[in-house]
Symmetry: C2
Subunit: 173 residues, 2 copies
């Protein structure tokens, strides 16, 4: 391995450890503030940092995971819905909701410290969430099904898409 | 099929069509209000109804899908993070973020009108999202990796969980 590569690897590891330590500190502090033990940080390409912590029970919002909160905060502050080039650091392995949220935000990659097994030992057994998408449709714990509206219904299944396609001023995303 | 079963099926279909029409109407109206063509409704076991529409570009929030917004609104209004027994009706097949959000909220089941193919024809080609979780880890478009902190780091990977486990007043979820 040449010296430049070794240096790049060491720098990247130092950066990772720095922002993971920040996410872990946020997570630990959040426990003392009526939140869950999870923290996350968004790092932009120009070095800006945005934070999030788990506020599910505090805010009565089951989607308020640390990663989602960090994504929302970064987007709100930057005035964009697109975090291309950003890195998401999180104190614990993200669940499928957070991974999908990061995908929608165009996050470049995700780095986490603790994993699902560490979380399970603390009582956060999210196996059903990790396994949901690999479970056959008909065996999933939460059934999901399509219901086509009858042709006589007051509105058609594709009416919103037709309105969208007809709109000149739409913001594509 | 006996008469009671036929009646139950007809009633359920009528209920589904009613709330799907509401979700579709919300979606169509949202297009005229700077939003994406998606709407959703949460129906509680006692018949209360909460609405959500896509505000991704309007709010600069990539997680503001209609389903997530309906879940957040229902939880906020009801003062809970638990929607056990509720049904989520949505104008279009939900993406993995919305399905996971519904799972976290303990939604009973999900019913949708248009599907991913209808959405793709309107320019919403979310195939990468649907396929993300069935793609092998090393081939995923957004890499996700673990970085364990070194033993000399200022905080340990499991410090937040240790704080959580030591907290008597925690709200488990």
């Amino acid at each position: 391995m040449d010296v430049a590569l070794v240096r790049e690897f060491q720098m990247s590891t130092t950066t990772d450890e720095h922002y993971l330590a920040q996410a872990l500190s946020l997570a630990a502090a959040n426990v003392e503030n009526a939140g869950g033990p999870f923290g996350a940080v968004i790092l932009t390409p120009d070095g800006s940092v945005f934070e999030g912590v788990n506020r599910v029970t505090a805010n009565n919002d089951p989607t308020a995971h640390a990663e989602v909160m960090a994504i929302r905060e970064a987007c709100r502050s930057l005035g964009t819905f697109d975090l291309s080039g950003c890195v998401l650091y999180t104190s614990c392995e993200p669940c499928p909701m957070c991974l999908s949220g990061a995908l929608w935000a165009r996050v470049k990659h995700v780095v986490y410290a603790a994993d699902r097994h560490d979380a399970a030992r603390a009582g956060f057994d999210d196996a059903v969430f990790y396994e949901y998408f690999s479970t056959p449709l008909e065996e999933r714990s939460m059934p999901v099904r399509q219901c086509r509206l009858s042709p006589s219904a007051e509105i058609g299944d594709c009416a919103p898409f037709e309105a969208w396609s007809a709109l000149a001023a739409r913001v594509d995303y």
